[in-house]
């Protein structure tokens, strides 16, 4: 009985549809990671700035995302924001917005940690050479900080990829939703299809996330020595 169930994966265009769903998931994750990293660098710079008010605002922003679960954020933006501002938001757009904001907050913390770990004489030497603010960050601090923040940033990306599985809860047709559709269609014919489909999606996520987390560990070990 189990052996017959696996055929549900290859039947018709099922495999192709699952991959199509995975592409949506990957698109959300990719856009959010890129946007989050760019915004995160700005947040990180602000968090190492001298202004106490700005630092506090950014810290508060980070804590908001750390305390409140991402699923709650997705619900809030998907169900709440359209009602308040009287606009229509697609589930996928909501996902990109929430994941980017979350990524920016966490990335900001990673950038801050990396910048603060740089020895102080780097800044002082840069200033002594007469570099201005942008030159200092562009040529001295950011290149060095990048090395230190890469393992954390990759780790964050893995977490974001994993969390994209939640978008099914706000009506995005992602890989999980496509899987559910396939199960619902074939459940009478193949009672074990849910085992195979969910097992397959489980492995799909593993295949994407495992190399990322291995890479992050490798980089960490390499730069620690």
């Amino acid at each position: 009985m189990l052996n017959s169930g696996i055929s549900v994966l290859t039947e018709g265009s099922n495999l192709l549809r699952l991959m199509g769903g995975l592409l949506i998931t990957a698109r959300i994750a990719l856009i959010a990671i890129i946007l989050g990293s760019l915004l995160g660098i700005i947040v990180g710079l602000v968090r190492t700035s001298k202004s106490r008010v700005l630092r506090f605002i950014c810290r508060f922003y980070l804590e908001l995302f750390r305390i409140i679960p991402i699923l709650v954020w997705l619900f809030f933006v998907y169900f709440g924001v359209p009602g308040i501002f009287d606009i229509h938001l697609e589930g996928e757009l909501v996902a990109v917005i929430v994941f980017s904001l979350w990524g920016a907050a966490e990335m900001g913390d990673i950038v801050r940690g990396a910048l603060e770990s740089l020895p102080k004489h780097q800044i002082e030497s840069g200033k002594a050479l007469g570099l201005n603010f942008w030159q200092l960050y562009r040529f001295v601090l950011l290149p060095q900080a990048t090395r230190r923040m890469l393992p954390g940033a990759i780790n964050l990306s893995t977490r974001m990829v994993k969390t994209t599985s939640l978008v099914v809860m706000i009506g995005v047709i992602d890989v999980v939703k496509v899987g559910q559709q396939i199960i619902e269609r074939s459940i009478l014919k193949e009672p074990t299809s849910s085992f195979w489909i969910y097992g397959f999606i489980f492995i799909l996520y593993f295949i994407i996330c495992y190399p990322l987390s291995k890479l992050s560990k490798k980089l960490e070990a390499k730069w620690e020595s």
Partner: protein, 221 residues
């Protein structure tokens, strides 16, 4: 925009019940993942033959897959093989499966922070393996492990928000129901956020306080 207070008051008991359920599931999940994590880290520490690769495989599998998929697999997939779990058991098993690996990593980090000379001295005065763990490793590893254990607890409590997906009437589920039935979207979402803040803020503050205490005990500052 006005808040419909009447609705808030009628919905309040629902949220209270759901919050307790969320807390209960999270607590069981955290406790079982602590046990799993401790067992896994002991197996890894002694490099037990046969078991160690298994544990390493479990850790990678659990850390690199989303909880939602783990829950769907447990709840919808395994029933078809004759393994039928109730929704709540499923949620706890899922949380334990996810949390176990995070806890194991936290314990491992702590154990690795105990210097080799400590362990060698312990062995040379004739402590058994169990005594070594109980009197030398655990007390020292504790203060290093505590911050990451605390972070894991908050992480698991937050992850509990996902169990609504397998028909458990938790906070998310109640909110979704209320939005669907009464269209009081804003009130329902507001109560959802406040409920999570009530659950998570005290834990967060307590852990920060505890961390400071432990650091004081260790370093005196």
């Amino acid at each position: 925009m006005g808040i419909n207070w009447e609705f808030v008051i009628t919905a309040l008991p629902l949220y209270e019940k759901a919050a307790w359920l969320t807390l209960k599931l999270a607590l069981w999940g955290i406790l079982s993942s602590l046990v799993i994590g401790l067992l896994c880290s002991i197996v890894l520490y002694y490099k037990t033959k046969g078991l160690a690769p298994l544990v390493r495989g479990y850790i990678e599998l659990s850390r690199n897959t989303p909880l939602l998929i783990q829950l769907f697999f447990l709840y919808y997939g395994l029933t078809k093989l004759g393994i039928v779990l109730s929704e709540q058991t499923c949620a706890i098993v899922g949380l334990a499966f996810l949390g176990g690996s995070y806890m194991a990593e936290a314990f491992r980090g702590g154990v690795e922070s105990v210097s080799k000379s400590q362990i060698e001295s312990g062995l040379s005065i004739g402590l058994s393996n169990l005594q070594l763990i109980r009197y030398v490793i655990l007390p020292q590893a504790f203060s290093v492990t505590l911050p990451s254990l605390g972070a894991n607890c908050i992480f698991l409590l937050k992850e509990t928000s996902i169990v609504g997906a397998i028909a458990i009437p938790d906070l998310m589920h109640v909110t979704q129901d209320l939005i669907g039935m009464y269209y009081q979207t804003f009130e329902a979402l507001l109560m959802l956020v406040i409920a999570y803040l009530i659950l998570l803020l005290p834990v967060s503050f307590f852990l920060t306080w505890l961390e400071r205490k432990v650091r004081y005990a260790e370093f005196g500052n």
